[in-house]
């Protein structure tokens, strides 16, 4: 990855963090912490853009950063309408970093800069009075206080010790004193004059007013500088020595050019004293300890997603090899080999879990973009909507998370466009003017559950029924519950929207959402109540790479059925199960369940045993059976995608390699249902034979 790529990746992360903070600012009261987050993001982008030669980005971000700096230092009073302009600035930076500089883009930059400068001019005066109340006062940084008492301070009756004592009592701090005993001072040294200057680093949580009150009686005479530093800033020893006035930048640079250890070298060369180096080191340690406390210096390593995918592939291969070793150990009756196999299994499981852990990302990392979506749609649809998110810490495989974006955007757009009513309609219906969309993530029964719930109008059952009748999806005499009718919105091309907007309503959505969720071996569960709202739950496996499966056999062919879809296995009397059109019914627990024979579906030669097994699965709330010759047992399955040649074969979601090197196909239960069961369900089952549970 080259420098520019790294910049782009990091800039995206900072912009994302910035957007989340800005949206939080819009929804909540202003806080220094949020302003600092936005400022830090801008500051970093500006610095990095300059490093990679994106001067047009650097130019723009510099102006926005200056504005933000003034806001965080309370030189400009925060106003809620600033957020929209800052979001506009964030979007513009996104365009700038990905595009070539052009007159058009520069013109937009100038327009946005002009907008923020309006506040700069308007509010500077106001702030002068508010300035004394200014206080970043945050744990995300530290204060640097520099003060030099007046030369006559001691003879004027003031002392530094009580002031330093008061400062040290305010909280954690590091004090450095420097004595300006130059040649001239030594020749004219007057013991009653002050030659000392002080640097004090203090905890960022200390109140600015408290710091300044220590200088209440001397602030007009002494030189006092108080500045706040973010923990993002690096603390280099050389910089501290320069800031202490112990040496100059050019001397540091010359020294650095010769050897790396700044402090020792400067002291060795007599440029600074050992004492000064020690004091500077104390300051450096103070800041670094703060950074460590706030987690800013955690040893994180950035790894490309490709490398993680490769690692997972290798873990998959390892699982297969481990399975082969275990299988060989079992058949050889070699105790030593069996022990090694068990140890290998343990290690493989640990490596597998650790690798999965590395790939897990919190769902909340994508919530910010949905918040933005809702915000923008609220404005364009003229609706009042609040997005409430829950379970942002819920972790999910990064591959799942990436695949989840489009379905979630679609569902949220639907909720906004068709679910939430206009403010007037809501008031008329006795609801609050502001609609609520909840986005909740959680872990449930080893799966990730994402729920999108709105308190809008709910699905219009009658309208869906009419549309379904018109499209021939249902017959007039079909006995369907409201819930069944609601599920019809997942039919391809189905839409009841009377108008097509740029938000939704083209009828190419819900079936695509359903398909993409099922492609991830997930389920989509929809519940709606007219007038009260709609809730859509997406249930997904924690990972897509390795699943637990049930190994089954048909003739000599091995198949894997995802364990998450299986309800039970029952033995069937096949004499009663055959039907001319290939459709089967099995009776289990007093209920007739449609079934599909894998032998028949995949045209496998040979005869079905007299008592085949039927694996009852539950695919997207539809129960059906899969008839196989025998059930072998549970198998940890590494999913390998099928090549292009096999893409047209329905009912398979991939393949896996077994311990003995054989290839087994993994069954796609949802596709089997759609292709085999659904068409036969349209025929009457009344006259068919059925297979009895043995």
């Amino acid at each position: 990855m080259n420098l520019l790529d790294t910049f782009l990746e990091e800039a995206e992360e900072h912009l994302c963090a910035m957007e989340a903070a800005l949206l939080e600012l819009e929804d909540n009261d202003v806080s220094d912490e949020i302003i600092n987050t936005v400022f830090r993001a801008m500051h970093t982008i500006k610095g990095s853009a300059g490093m990679v030669g994106l001067d047009h980005v650097s130019y723009f971000t510099h102006h926005i950063e200056s504005f933000l700096d003034a806001v965080r230092a309370h030189r400009i009073v925060y106003q809620s309408d600033m957020v929209s302009v800052l979001i506009e600035a964030k979007d513009h930076i996104e365009t700038l970093i990905h595009g070539q500089p052009s007159n058009e883009l520069m013109a937009i930059s100038e327009q946005i800069i002009a907008k923020v400068q309006t506040w700069h001019i308007d509010t500077t005066e106001v702030v002068t009075t508010a300035e004394s109340q200014a206080q970043p006062s945050t744990d995300d940084g530290y204060w640097e206080l520099q003060f030099t008492p007046h030369s006559d301070t001691f003879t004027d009756g003031f002392d530094v010790i009580p002031i330093v004592r008061e400062l040290s009592e305010l909280g954690e701090c590091v004090i450095s004193s420097r004595h300006q005993f130059g040649k001239a001072e030594k020749e004219t040294f007057n013991p009653t004059h002050n030659y000392m200057t002080f640097t004090v680093l203090m905890d960022g949580s200390i109140d600015e007013d408290s710091i300044m009150s220590a200088f209440m009686f001397v602030e007009d005479e002494w030189q006092i500088d108080l500045g706040f530093h973010s923990l993002d800033e690096d603390v280099r020893l050389g910089d501290i020595l320069v800031s202490m006035g112990a040496t100059s930048e050019s001397t540091i640079e010359k020294t650095l050019a010769t050897k790396p250890k700044t402090g020792e070298l400067l002291a060795e060369q007599g440029i600074v004293t050992k004492q000064e180096v020690n004091q500077a080191l104390e300051q450096q340690n103070f800041v670094e300890a703060k950074q460590a406390q706030s987690g800013k210096k955690q040893a994180n390593v950035k790894v490309s997603a490709d490398k993680l995918d490769k690692l997972l592939d290798l873990v998959g291969e390892l699982v297969i090899v481990q399975s082969a070793v275990n299988q060989h150990a079992e058949s050889s009756n070699d105790l030593y080999l069996t022990n090694i196999g068990e140890e290998l299994s343990r290690l493989t499981t640990e490596i597998r879990d650790t690798t999965f852990g590395i790939r897990m990302l919190p769902v909340g990392s994508t919530f910010a973009r949905y918040r933005r979506l809702i915000r923008d749609l609220s404005q364009s649809l003229d609706k009042k909507v609040q997005l409430v998110t829950e379970g942002a810490d819920t972790e999910v495989d990064k591959m799942v998370l990436e695949s989840l974006n489009d379905p979630l955007v679609h569902l949220l757009r639907n909720s906004m466009d068709h679910g939430i009513e206009s403010p007037e309609a809501r008031v008329e219906a006795g609801k609050s003017e502001t609609g609520t969309i909840r986005l909740e993530a959680s872990h449930r029964n080893g799966k990730v559950s994402i729920v999108i719930k709105d308190d809008g109008a709910g699905l219009n059952t009658q309208k869906i029924k009419e549309k379904a009748l018109k499209n021939g999806l249902i017959h007039q005499d079909d006995m369907l519950s409201d819930h069944d009718i609601h599920q019809l919105i997942f039919a391809p091309g189905f839409s009841t929207a009377s108008r097509v907007s740029d938000v939704s309503g083209r009828g190419v959505g819900m079936d695509v959402v359903k398909t993409s969720i099922e492609n991830m071996q997930g389920k989509l569960v929809l519940h709606s109540e007219e007038g009260k709202g709609t809730s859509t739950e997406i249930l997904l496996p924690l990972t897509l790479a390795i699943i637990d499966g049930l190994m089954v056999e048909v003739a000599d062919e091995i198949f894997i059925i995802p364990l998450s879809a299986i309800e039970e296995c029952v033995e069937i009397n096949q004499e009663k199960s055959r039907r001319d059109d290939g459709a089967l019914l099995v009776k289990t627990r007093g209920e007739l369940v449609p079934a599909v024979s894998l032998r028949r579906h995949f045209s496998i030669q040979g005869n079905t045993p007299p008592f085949p097994q039927c694996v009852i699965v539950n695919s997207t709330e539809n129960r059906f059976g899969i008839m196989v010759d025998s059930v072998i047992g549970q198998h940890q399955t590494v999913i390998k995608s099928l090549g292009k040649l096999y893409h047209n074969i329905r009912g398979l979601m991939g393949s896996t390699i077994l311990g003995n090197g054989d290839v087994a196909m993994i069954i796609d239960t949802a596709q089997l249902f759609e292709d085999v069961i659904m068409p036969t369900q349209e025929q009457s089952f009344m006259e068919t034979n059925y297979a009895d549970e043995n």
């Binding site: 008492p149 330093v164 004193s177 009653t192």
Partner: protein, 96 residues
Amino acid sequence: MTVYTLPAELTVYTVNDTYQHLVDTLTTASDIVIIEAHAVDEIDGCGIQLLTYFASQCQEKNTNFQCDNPSESLKEAAKLLNVSTILFPLDEGIEA
């Protein structure tokens, strides 16, 4: 070895006298100057500044500087202004 005992008060009101004594001490000192500091009862920033100045003068003249038996007042003041390692180099900064 030359020894000088600091007075009980080392403040802006007394530093001129003490300074004169210290200058005299350094003029007559050979290889080491020992400052006996047990008696210091009252000290201010001006007093601390004098001692650090004297320590730097000793260093310039290649004379060893040693501050012995510092009183609690002196130790506390030196610690507050973070000059313990200058005044008590052998003790690596005495704990106040």
